[in-house]
């Protein structure tokens, strides 16, 4: 099966007052049709910037090199017109802060209908019917009335569901969700996750779920990409990541989560120290300074992402 999204040698850099910051370096990954890829990392790991680059949404002081292809079409630094054709239509993205994605002065339904009128040439009436149907799918009660509501009249969870409905209106092939549930309460998070799960199962949309929460990934994703300081450290099927994590960072991350299953009497194992400074990344492995198993090579040579099993790769010098 050919990949929907193919990313090769992606580098994202930002010019700042203090010099150049490398947000993503030499990243390779692909997204298969109908799968859900979880992209996990802490703040500064480059997980969001990767996909902002793909959508041409990097901040003005940022630049991307390398290649991200959607079915053979290069997306990086593509002309605006070509990108506009795909964005919101074949490729859609939803963000953590759902309010910022909605125009405050326009009725929610009309904003959604606008997308259909523009990308699919539907009439207003046709668009309205489709929008109400989409609102029903995301389980918004009384969609006819909500069609005429303004964003501020909705709760955070409702807005996030509206964003999902809006992103899926044109039945995109790829949906990138950037921390879609981070700003939401647990019970609302459960609603949104169930919704994304249903979407993946019923429409065959390829889903990218960017998150810092491994718990969210476990329930929803087929494959997981773990990022650290702008680099891929591990990539593999979700079961392998949780059952046989191959990178020390992944293992430490899994252990340091205070899930409901741990014994509160014992102290959580922590990852000591801080993530490295993105301005002055070490020459070797970015995790070396916090790794419990560090050896001399780790500080000198950057490990490549190499296979350790079927479809499972990691970037680490230690013997597997």
């Amino acid at each position: 099966m050919a990949a929907v999204i193919e990313c090769q040698g992606l580098n994202v850099r930002f010019r700042t007052d203090d010099g150049a910051v490398t947000a993503v370096s030499d990243l390779d990954f692909s997204l298969n049709p109908g799968e859900c890829l979880g992209v996990v990392g802490e703040s500064g790991s480059g997980k969001s910037q990767t996909f902002l680059a793909m959508f041409g949404l990097l901040a003005p002081n940022g630049s991307a090199t390398g290649s991200i292809r959607y079915r053979g079409t290069e997306l990086l630094n593509a002309p605006r017109g070509a990108l506009d054709e795909l964005r919101g239509n074949r490729l859609a993205m939803i963000f953590q802060d759902a309010l910022s994605g909605l125009t405050p002065t326009m009725r929610v339904g009309e904003q959604m209908a606008e997308v259909l009128v523009r990308h699919q040439g539907l009439t207003r009436q046709q668009a309205r019917a489709r929008v109400i149907e989409a609102l029903e799918v995301v389980r918004i009660a009384d969609p006819e009335r909500r069609y005429a509501a303004y964003p501020f009249e909705m709760s955070g969870g409702m807005r996030q569901r509206v964003m999902i409905a809006m992103a899926t209106l044109c039945r995109p092939e790829v949906l990138v969700a950037d921390e879609p549930t981070t700003a939401l309460d647990v019970t609302v998070q459960a609603q949104v996750l169930r919704l994304l799960d249903g979407l993946k199962r019923h429409t065959g949309t390829s889903l990218v779920l960017i998150t810092h929460d491994l718990g969210v990934v476990a329930g929803l994703c087929d494959r997981v990409l773990i990022m650290y300081a702008g680099r891929a450290v591990e990539l593999g099927p979700v079961r392998d990541i949780f059952r046989r994590p191959a990178h020390p960072y992944t293992r430490a991350l899994l252990r340091s989560m205070p899930g409901l299953g741990i014994d509160p009497a014992e102290d959580l194992p922590v990852i000591p120290g801080q993530p490295p400074d993105l301005e002055h990344l070490p020459p070797g492995c970015a995790f070396a300074s916090r790794c419990a198993h560090v050896v001399e090579t780790c500080r000198v040579t950057r490990p490549a992402l190499l296979a350790v099993g079927a479809d499972h790769a990691r970037a680490c010098h230690l013997p597997a």
Partner: protein
């Protein structure tokens, strides 16, 4: 920069905490400001204008009131040290322009200081007190706001007669209104910050909170506003003088020179050209500095 929130924030700075000089927000702002070429150039130009406004009238061969009937409306040129030409009374325009600069810049600075003192105190007290006090104080500002400036000045002038100090008072008395609103708004914002709550929680007194927490954090936008208020006040003085309500002969200011030159635009265009150029350059400089300060102090950049 609005770029990469997670990126340009704590991580990059955190590692820097390892060595070097502590980077207070002021120090960082100063560093950003120094990189702004337009603002730095503006400071140099402004300093030159200010310095020559002080020095040139002291050393120039012509005085500001030296009328010379032989040299009426001489066009600009080197002849007889009338580089900027002369006016209808044969007075040297160069010395009058620089002298006018003295008055205009002084008025700009002094009125701003008046506005700053009244505005900051009033606004900070209103914002920090909150509740009814705040409501009452700000309604009073609203009432004053509704009085047109010109109307206010005409009243002052008719009651107290024409006097340059009246101009200071009149402009300062009107411009502090905006300042007090800005300071009050900032105070309200800062008051809602968690660090102020944490100061309450450790039992710090109200005056210490105002001194250590509120005022230092309100200062940034005030400084920016000050650099934009100075040129505003210079312009206000100019149009008051233009209308004959401001500076009176034989004293002069850029506004007065422009108003006098406007009458002879056809026959002696230099009379308006020089003072207007100086006024415009000064305006640009203050605005560039204000922009530079705003960019350097912008809280979103932290």
């Amino acid at each position: 920069m609005s770029a990469g929130p997670g990126l340009l924030g704590s991580e990059t700075l955190a590692a820097a905490a390892g060595g070097g000089v502590p980077r207070s927000l002021w120090r960082q702002a100063a560093r950003r400001f120094r990189r702004n070429r337009a603002a730095m150039a503006s400071i140099v130009i402004l300093a030159l204008i200010a310095l020559s406004s002080i020095l040139v009238p002291m050393f120039w061969p012509h005085g500001i009131e030296d009328a010379s009937w032989e040299n009426i409306l001489v066009p600009p040129g080197a002849a007889g040290w009338h580089w900027f030409g002369t006016d209808a009374n044969g007075r040297d325009l160069l010395v009058r322009t620089f002298y006018g600069g003295r008055i205009s810049l002084t008025i700009g600075l002094l009125t701003t200081v008046v506005a700053l003192l009244i505005g900051v105190t009033y606004g900070a007290v209103a914002g920090f007190a909150g509740g009814r006090t705040d409501g009452f104080m700000m309604r009073f500002v609203d009432v004053l706001y509704s009085l047109p400036l010109i109307f206010f000045i005409i009243i002052l002038v008719t009651v107290f007669g024409r006097n340059i100090f009246l101009v200071f008072i009149a402009i300062g008395a009107v411009e502090w209104l905006t300042m007090s609103r800005i300071v009050r708004g900032q105070t309200l914002t800062v008051k809602a910050k968690e660090y102020v709550e944490s100061a309450v929680a450790i039992g710090l007194s109200r005056s210490a909170i105002l001194r250590r927490y509120i005022i230092p954090n309100v200062l940034g936008p005030v400084i920016v506003y000050v650099t934009l208020l100075i040129p505003t006040n210079i312009i206000v003085e100019s149009y008051l003088s233009f209308l004959g309500l401001g500076v009176q002969e034989p004293l002069t200011s850029w506004g007065l020179l422009i108003s006098q030159g406007a009458g002879q635009l056809d026959s002696a265009p230099w009379l308006i050209f020089f003072p207007a150029t100086f006024l415009a350059v000064t305006m640009f400089c203050f605005n560039f500095i204000g922009d530079g300060l705003r960019d350097a102090l912008d809280p979103r950049d932290r």
